[in-house]
Assembly symmetry: C2
Homo-oligomer: 516 residues x 2
């Protein structure tokens, strides 16, 4: 190789290791990396005008593509703007590699304005962290970062690239690193779980990671056919394949008392690719662990093990039939009249095209959709994995980059949508086929419920004000226009169906504000 910049050497290795896209919000310290992107065409640079959009888009890309999504971020504060969606990405176990520019080592002691402790900021959301120390090591460093990120089902890796190293000349190269595959599950575990299932009257599987993809679901359906067990996905699955012909899964309810109720008579609960269920928040007099008393919890595969293969082995051990039960085709009627969560969900379910990718961060507006969509043509559901709202629009953006031939829906609550609304601009620039369905209830409705749960029957003016988004009302159609995305408002089922059909029929991004 002729000498190049460290940045170019880094990007060439990243491309060889499978990186195809870099969601970027660069600054001065990343100029060598920006310049190098013009010499490494295999990596497509996509500008995001806020870092939370870049990291959320990387999450969405990673969840769908199974390839490493790069981000390019600016010092500690730029990284910090991306932390909330990296927190979500880590909970989604998406393969993401952050490249973070920083000052050269020699400049750090001067405490220039952007100097910050990037490592302290990055550790909580990074499974792997390194600050490169030599230009010639940049290719090997990024190769290691990508190999870590690709460990199934996926991890977040953060590499700090000082600006002098990325600008320096080097002839170093590095081959891609071998990726550690998902750990296989031992036969004894499979046998133990099979025995437990055989010995129980009522059982359930909790599916996550690979167990909620097509292959794992098929095996889970076989287990259900053999044992009569129920199939649950996590309350907030990273990705679950759904629709007619696939085994139907129930969603574990959100509030702990409802989750405990759903599992009330389950004698054996088997975790396959999911951790044991826990309460999202702690409430007085409710447990953190959501495995009911008297229910035996068995882990077939944790999220980093090969849950799909383990389920197939389990099905074989149970002498299950070759095919389990599948959801029947069913499309809800088009709703009419005023909008509420059920009619909103029906409008989306009645119109979403086959093969859609639906990123659901609809909060209290989204509940009914899940069951309404059970019998639709096959599609992919993504959800808000880490509870840091503002993931939906960026994840949908990244999913659309990963899957340009599939329609993508951002089914998004209004409150959460505001956090990363800048994603609309990237959708417009890249011409992405995203239908942004904004559930405009003009409130943080979940917090109104939570206030009531906390015993505040009648909030005073300050509490009321802190959970309200109606003064002034947000005009989402104007916001969309501001970012270059065509939008329209719907206040009835009929109008919403028409608007969604138009959005799905036309190429490029659209926004539909559903006022409920």
């Amino acid at each position: 190789m002729p000498p190049s910049t460290g940045a170019e050497a880094l990007l060439r290795t990243a491309a060889a290791a499978g990186a195809r896209v870099c969601f970027a919000n660069p600054g001065t310290s990343e100029m060598a990396l920006v310049a190098a992107l013009d010499r490494v065409d295999a990596v497509r640079a996509i500008l995001c005008t806020f870092e939370g959009v870049a990291t959320g888009a990387a999450d969405g890309f990673g969840r769908l593509a199974g390839a490493p999504a790069l981000t390019l971020l600016h010092h500690g504060p730029g990284f910090a703007n991306g932390i909330a969606n990296l927190h979500n990405a880590r909970r989604a176990r998406a393969p993401v590699v952050n490249l973070v520019g920083d000052h050269p080592d020699r400049h750090l002691p001067y405490d220039a304005p952007l100097t910050s402790d990037i490592e302290s900021l990055a550790r909580p959301v990074s499974d792997w962290f390194r600050r490169s120390s030599q230009a010639k090591e940049l290719p090997a460093d990024v190769a290691e970062a990508i190999a870590v990120a690709l460990e199934p089902p996926g991890r977040v890796a953060t590499l700090v690239v000082p600006s002098d190293l990325s600008a320096a000349t080097t002839d170093a190269t590095a081959p891609p690193r071998a990726v550690t595959p998902a750990a296989p599950v031992a036969n004894e575990i499979v046998e133990r779980v099979a025995t437990a299932l055989r010995g129980s009257r009522t059982s359930a599987l909790l599916l996550g990671a690979g167990a909620s993809r097509a292959e794992g679901l098929a095996a889970a359906g076989r287990v259900a056919a053999a044992t009569g067990c129920r199939l649950f996905c996590e309350t907030f699955p990273a990705r679950v394949e759904r629709g007619a012909g696939l085994p139907a899964v129930e969603r574990l309810p959100y509030f702990p008392e409802h989750a405990l109720q759903a599992l009330e008579n389950v004698e054996v609960l088997v975790m396959a690719g999911a951790p044991e269920p826990v309460a999202f928040f702690a409430y007085p007099d409710l447990p953190s662990r959501l495995v009911p008393d008297g229910c035996r919890a068995e882990t077939l595969a944790d999220p980093r093990e090969d849950a799909a293969a383990a389920l197939a082995a389990l099905a074989d051990a149970l002498a299950a039939p070759a095919r389990g039960a599948a959801a029947e085709a069913s499309i809800p009627a088009r709703p009419t009249g005023a909008l509420d969560p059920p009619t909103l969900g029906a409008a989306l379910a009645a119109t979403q095209p086959e093969g859609a990718i639906v990123m659901e961060e609809a909060a209290t507006s989204g509940g009914p959709y899940f069951n309404l969509a059970a019998g639709l043509p096959p599609h992919t559901l993504l959800t808000l994995t880490g509870g840091a709202i503002g993931q939906g629009l960026p994840v949908a953006t990244g999913a659309a980059v990963a899957c340009p031939d599939r329609p993508v829906v951002a089914f998004q609550a209004d409150g959460g949508g505001l956090y990363t609304v800048q994603a609309l601009w990237t959708q417009a620039r890249e011409g992405l086929n995203v239908t942004n369905l904004i559930c405009s209830n003009r409130a943080y409705r979940i917090l109104q419920f939570e206030l009531a749960r906390a015993g505040v029957a009648e909030p005073g003016p300050q509490a009321a004000s802190l959970t309200d988004l109606s003064r002034p009302e947000l005009d989402w159609v104007a916001l969309a226009r501001g970012f270059g995305v065509p939008g329209e408002r719907a206040e009835t089922g009929e109008a919403l169906v028409t608007a969604l059909e138009r959005a799905f029929a036309e190429p490029g991004p659209h926004l539909v504000e559903a006022v409920i």
Copy 2:
């Protein structure tokens, strides 16, 4: 005191210690604090729809009010969204106290979705950090946090409040804590600096913190009258009082070669409330430290010492006159024709009302304004202190809360404005007198300059795309409307002057998009 919740006890102590406002973006774990705000009227709750708005507004409030600004944030990811502007606030030395809700200790081992290492995230931007461990200690904990935050000129303190503690019953109270005053400067230092100034032909003062407020500036003007020294403020001052009748200060240039040039013949450079100047970024063949070879650097007062008193003592030691030179009144002519940075700056300078607070994050569009405003009626200039763009709209928001009787200007570059554009909604809700002047050059212009400085004469398509905001063009008037703020676009000097005059004349927030 009758028993109350821990949250209420905390807020009562905070109010007694001077807290009047809480910029809030709460979630479930903060419901007890939200409910308590209705029982502690002295603390005004202001909803922000993104945490970076809350922390930036707290910075702006703190810089103007000299009182502690509270924020209310949700777990690690919510805090993380506020980090970039806390980084700026810490560089601005603004008094800010973050209240961060979290899970109870008992819930943490279950690794629920929002569980995160808040301390690791908070330390880099917090001068003080604590996780409360008992409800009865909440009042004392917040009293200590506020006392730390108020140490002159100001600090950032972060208190994590587990949800079970804020909801628990307690009869604990705590008095406000004494605030450590700014450290006085020893007479020997004053004498040494006086001797150095007397012995030099050319000298300069670099003013920061208290030295750039009215009292400090007056003393600096006396020193200048006695010695002929030049007066500089930092490149990015947190707050500087300006205008006719006040000593005129020069702004230290941004690029290191220009700063070195500005200080070229200075024999003695005296730091008064400012650290020694350093390069914002590191460039090849340019030093990090911007004190030229042969220039003697003397620190009269560091930013935490009483720079204003030290300057007064220095003026006395130099037998300076009672009054130094002051900037003469001068208002630039109203510009006509096409807009560029000089005409844009002239339009603002020609129209801004007396007593205005101007938050300048105008980047490459903002340069000419500084000198054009030197002779305006007295006003206050705030700037982007930490280099984390997206500070302007929130800081202006908080400044307007602190000073409801003063007109506030957010003089804001378009690229940076996008990061925290949600501030517009809070301005609309609170009816704040903020004129948002968006400099719409539809590019990250500074990065185009930086690419050229890095030797990229003709950027390729990817580098060009990463520094461009014109595809699609942002419609800032639509964005403003979306957030409930009236806006208009100006493409000429005449139109801009008219728009600004209208914005200043009408109450409430306005946005003017100046296309340059």
